[in-house]
């Protein structure tokens, strides 16, 4: 069974919905048939007038009443029989009163038409046609009302004015019975068909109710889901804002701390120099003066580096990919890294490597950071080697490796090295590798690291094929 019915109260809900749909349908049918019969009434009026003018004189030839009377009957009596049901349909469509009113008038119309044709047997079939039309209502009591009217009419007129009904002044005694039996037979058939139609309507209403409830239930679920999604999204956004704020706070604290140390040294040096400058004659012999000037320069550079790293990290400049030969770029980056004694820095990027698409500035910074880290990874006082290699490119992914044979990265540190603000250096903002990772990502690439304590580390940049990007 459908899940709708399984829910508590769903059965009542279904019944209620089904009966509402059934009533709606029934009302539609009644109004439609009302309109149909109203048109029929108007048509019958015109037919009746035509009959009175053209046929009645022959039908009643040699009988008591003249043609003038029939025309009046057709116009006025027929007018009344049409106007009353049309008015009912117009003012009270779909009501019980209208249906039975229409039925009464329709059967009276049959009587009038029978009368106008002088009781010809053909027009008696009009009764059967009327009953069939009324059966369109799918409301069997209407048929009983109509049949009742026909039987009463036949009985009364058959007794008082048999010519008007049977076309003869002395009809057989069983004629009324015969007509009634035929009518009863048709009524029986029509009542059965009405009941069938109603049963079908009920079944249809029930199915529609099931379908509607199911779809409403789905709709509700969808809405609830949408609502939940919206809430989730706003919660996520809130969380991201909070995290961002926390990150900004952390960043501010970290950078603030990193700036304070060099600034303190500069301030001390400045205080010393100020005092010394007050007595210039003693300056010449003071070795501290040039030493402190150099120190101030170094520490201020350090401040500037920290600030530019911070800005680099904060700036979300989009990558501008241009063809950029890798080997010269690596050469350039190596030139930017301060050389260290006993540490060899080798550029092993092949000359013939296909020219990749890179953001020159951003990728150069990536290389500088990685090479610098590699150089610093080699313990002081021992020889070491830093190598940059590359392979692939063109239609294949480009792989760039920066390798060192330094101290390696301890296993507990390794998972955190790309985290912003994480640093093991004494002087460092912890932004360098975070910047590298972000920039490689912006190039559509990935950054991986392999390290063995004591053996060295390898940073691997993988960039998607240049052809795929150009496409």
């Amino acid at each position: 069974m459908s899940p709708v019915v399984a829910e508590p109260g769903a059965a009542e809900q279904l019944e209620e919905r089904a009966s509402r749909l059934f009533s709606q349908h029934q009302q539609e049918v009644w109004r439609r048939v009302d309109r149909l019969l109203a048109w029929l009434m108007a048509g019958q009026w015109l037919v009746a007038i035509a009959l009175a003018l053209l046929f009645s004189p022959y039908g009643w030839e040699g009988k008591a009443r003249g043609g003038e009377w029939h025309l009046h009957a057709a116009v006025f009596l027929g007018g009344a029989l049409s106007v009353i049901p049309i008015a009912l349909v117009w003012r009270r469509p779909g009501t019980l009163l209208t249906r039975h009113g229409v039925a009464v008038c329709q059967l009276l119309w049959s009587a009038l038409l029978i009368h106008l044709t002088g009781g010809r047997i053909e027009t008696h079939f009009h009764i059967l046609g009327s009953l069939t039309f009324l059966a369109f209502y799918r409301d069997w009591p209407v048929l009983l009302t109509a049949s009742g009217v026909a039987v009463v009419d036949h009985s009364l007129r058959g007794a008082l004015w048999p010519e008007s009904v049977y076309g003869t002044p002395s009809p057989e005694w069983w004629l009324l019975l015969e007509h009634t039996v035929w009518m009863g037979f048709l009524d029986g058939v029509l009542i059965l068909s009405c009941r069938d139609a109603v049963r079908e309507m009920r079944e249809m209403a029930r199915r529609r109710a099931v379908a509607e409830l199911a779809s409403e239930c789905e709709h509700q679920k969808t809405r609830a889901l949408d609502h939940a999604l919206t809430e989730l999204k706003s919660a996520q956004e809130h969380l991201i804002r909070v995290e961002k704020l926390a990150a900004v706070g952390q960043l501010a604290a970290s950078v603030g701390h990193e700036l304070r140390n060099p600034l303190a040294a500069v301030r001390n040096a400045h205080a010393y120099l100020s005092k010394r400058l007050a007595r210039p004659e003693e300056l010449a012999g003071d070795a501290r003066v040039p030493q402190f000037l150099a120190l101030m320069d170094r520490e201020l550079n350090s401040c500037a580096r920290i600030i530019s790293e911070l800005l680099d990290f904060a700036r979300e400049s989009p990558v501008s990919l241009q063809p950029c030969p890798l080997r010269p770029l690596v050469e350039e980056a190596m030139g930017m890294v301060p050389a260290r004694e006993a540490v060899r820095v080798l550029n092993q990027v092949p000359e013939e490597l296909p020219v990749p698409l890179l953001d020159r500035e951003q990728f150069r910074q990536v290389l500088i950071n990685l090479v610098q880290n590699a150089v610093e990874a080699i313990p002081a006082g021992r020889a070491g080697e830093v190598v940059v290699r590359a392979e692939g490119g063109g239609g294949e992914p480009l792989r760039v490796r920066v390798e060192d044979d330094g101290g390696g990265i301890p296993a507990n540190v390794l998972p955190r090295i790309f985290e912003p603000l994480f640093t093991t250096k004494k002087e460092g903002t912890g932004l360098g590798l975070a910047i590298v990772a972000t920039r490689v990502q912006r190039h559509g690439g990935t950054l991986q690291v392999k390290s063995e304590p004591g053996r060295g580390s390898e940073f691997l940049i993988q960039l998607p094929p240049a052809t795929a990007r150009a496409a």
Binding site: N261, A265, N268, A269, A271, Y272, K275, R276, L295, E299
Partner: protein, 244 residues
Amino acid sequence: MSAARVLVVDDEESMRITLAANLELEGHEVVEAASGEEALRKVRERPVDVVLADIRMPGLHGVELHRHLRREQPGLPVVLMTAFAQESLVEDALAEGVFTVMHKPFDVAHLLRTLRHAASVPEVLVVDDSEDVAEATVEGLRLCGVRAQAVYDGDMALERMGSGKIDVCVVDLVMPGVTGPQVVERLRGAGQPVAIIAVSGHDVPEMMRQVAALGDVACMRKPISIRELAQVIARTRGRALARS
């Protein structure tokens, strides 16, 4: 006191040598140490008058160094430096009898004044009409590593101030005879730089306003925790000396 022997402890060479240069220019004798361990060795070799140490150092950090020095050389004034804006270590250090904590980058003149003051080994004067309270406070401060002495009325307080050893005065506001505000006013009038910490057991907003109007007065409500009092004293020393 004019020239002192100062031990400068910082793992950052730039900081150490610039501090040393400034101190030497003022005529102080400077001993440098690049770590807490080295500092302990140097102090054991030859005593110093005052220690200036960074808090964040690899190995033995500044606060640990201070704890060692308190055991080995009680009474040796220690001034700590930090680049951190907030740190629980700073709070601990302040509560454990460090003379004060300086925040980098500081003014060199301020540092020189602070060191000179620390080297003079000043004391805290606790003024309270209840002898028990006064003595308990002094004992608590001593346990925290803060030198202190107690007096029980305003006249004795003024007399003690004459010794020139007092730099901070913890005054109970509500006292019979000479009241707290009057004591503060007279202490200020004596012409000696002294920082005031006003303490009151009752809610006396009028008196609080009165002493606050005298300027540079920290206020505390009883019951005061000795830890907090020690922290306030250390902070006051770092601040008040910047002014005088």
